[in-house]
Amino acid sequence: MAGVKPAGSWTHAYWRMVAWDFADLRLYLPVLSAVLVLQGAGLALGVGLLFGTVPRTAAVFLVTGAPVMNLITAGLIFEPQLVAEQRTRGSYEFLQSLPVPRSAAALAWYTVALVTALPAVALTLLTGVARYHLDLTVTPMVVPAMLLTCLTGVLLGLAVAHGVTAPMVAMLLSTTLIFVMTGFSPVALPADQLPGWLASVNQWLPFGPMATIVRGALVSGVASEVPRSYLVVTAWAAGSALVVAWAQGHRR
């Protein structure tokens, strides 16, 4: 049918989807926010226990890396789990059939993920700074760094959620990704503490560079190769956006 267009403008559709997501997830989002605080602040405090006395470098990486995990988790981990549940319940097809541009729906979800993550990011940072007595030098670059990190996480999450159709596999994949992010990526630890090959691989994976750009905006003199990291993260965002467009665009 030619000429059938979604009702209203794109902006209108976007706001409707934001309202939809908040109403749909009104009970779930506060729990997620709380879980993120426990995750971030918990990591910052918990790793400190592994050391008798925490070295300064370790503390800087912990405090600046933990909020990055909040930003990534909100988009990358929760979205695949939500979509997996929608698929199991059968509401996935219904949501996809709504007369709303896919880009508006995706941006609405990004907004929701930001609103869920940012309070946790702030609390995680405050907890870490208070525990290890650090002086952060926050620059305005923190805004684009955090926005881009969260956006890339959301796009990666959407790619997994819409690209992987078996709910169980998507859940397992998101659990594996959180594991890789926590332990095998230089997010809250210096890259030189990883084996050489793993550190090299991580230069091209998204998690390490995400941490680098955020860390560069929070402390001076610790993060190196910040412009390169922006490029890597942007490339992952663009690649994921293509996967999402393909997965949602083709007919089944």
């Binding site: 779930y28 729990v31 997620l32 879980v35 993120l36 426990l38 995750q39 918990g42 990591l43 405090l45 918990g46 790793v47 226990l49 592994l50 050391f51 008798g52 370790a58 988790t73 981990i77 929760f78 789990q81 939500l82 549940e85 199991t88 319940r89 169980m168 859940m171 397992l172 998101s174 659990t175 594996t176 959180i178 594991f179 926590t182 332990g183 095998f184 809250a188 630890l189 210096p190 503490q193 990883l194």
Partner: protein, 252 residues
């Protein structure tokens, strides 16, 4: 109406449910074992990344703590995922409607997951010992220690997921918090490093005792007061069974 009962009938039902569980989970069980090894051994390796340079004693502590990580992964992630997937698919309602005592169905689930976790625990320990170049002294108490630990974790995971009864919440809690819970658990570091209130919490929770029982079975001279640890694990197992009995037997 002739109501069937008695030990013979229960045992027949138990055997039938064992066949049912093994057949129903045949695709999922190998994945479960693989995930457990990856996470258990992975966590043991990750602690090394965070700490950087390890002394010999710290390495022995981490290696001898690794079986506890594998046990907790199986019990908290594996069992919870299995239970929640069955909740979403309505499988539990089907199982409860079978002409078998519910206790036999639960006993069969416990048996399958308890035994299934054992190879993963052994492989995790071997991988961790190899990674850090540590030699272990395995005592004959390793067999009962492994079985009781695995049974305790399976029982607690099962009862927790059944009590929460909200698959999304249970999965969010497990996925985002498992690593933080493990970070704050005195398994990979001495309990004396915890703040006193948290150490007291861990003298009630089973994780510390699980670590002690398993550590004692592969090292000499690191663990004292072992009888208390066994008693606490047994008490948690009994409490989980009581909880399971309540949640499974009630009518909705």
């Amino acid at each position: 109406m002739n109501v069937r009962r008695g030990a013979r009938y229960w045992l027949d039902s138990y055997a039938a449910m064992l066949r049912f569980d093994l057949a129903a989970q045949r695709n999922w069980l190998p994945l479960f074992a693989l995930m457990q090894i990856l996470f258990g051994a992975g966590m043991a390796i990750i602690y090394g990344f965070y700490i950087g340079h390890l002394s010999r004693d710290a390495a022995l502590f981490i290696v001898s703590g690794s079986p506890a990580l594998a046990v907790l992964t199986a019990g908290l992630i594996g069992v919870v995922m299995m239970v929640t997937e069955r909740q979403q698919a309505g499988t539990w309602d089907f199982i409860w409607s079978l002409p078998a005592p519910r206790s036999a169905a639960v006993a069969s689930t416990f048996t399958v997951f308890t035994l299934l976790a054992v190879p993963g625990i052994v492989v995790t320990l071997a991988l961790a010992a190899w990674r850090y170049g540590v030699t272990l002294t395995v005592s004959p108490m390793a067999a009962p220690a492994l079985l009781l630990s695995s049974l305790m974790a399976t029982s607690v995971g099962f009862t927790m997921a059944q009590l929460i009864a909200k698959p999304l919440v249970a999965n969010a809690i497990v996925n985002a918090l498992i690593f933080v819970v493990l970070l704050f658990s005195p398994v990979q570091f001495p309990i004396s490093r915890l703040p006193i209130w948290l150490a007291d919490v861990h003298r009630v929770l089973p994780i510390y005792y699980l670590g002690q029982v398993l550590r004692a079975s592969v090292t000499r001279g690191l663990v004292s007061n072992l009888a208390l640890s066994y008693a606490v694990l047994a008490a948690w197992t009994a409490a989980a069974w009581a909880g399971a009995a309540w949640v499974v037997a009630r009518r909705r």
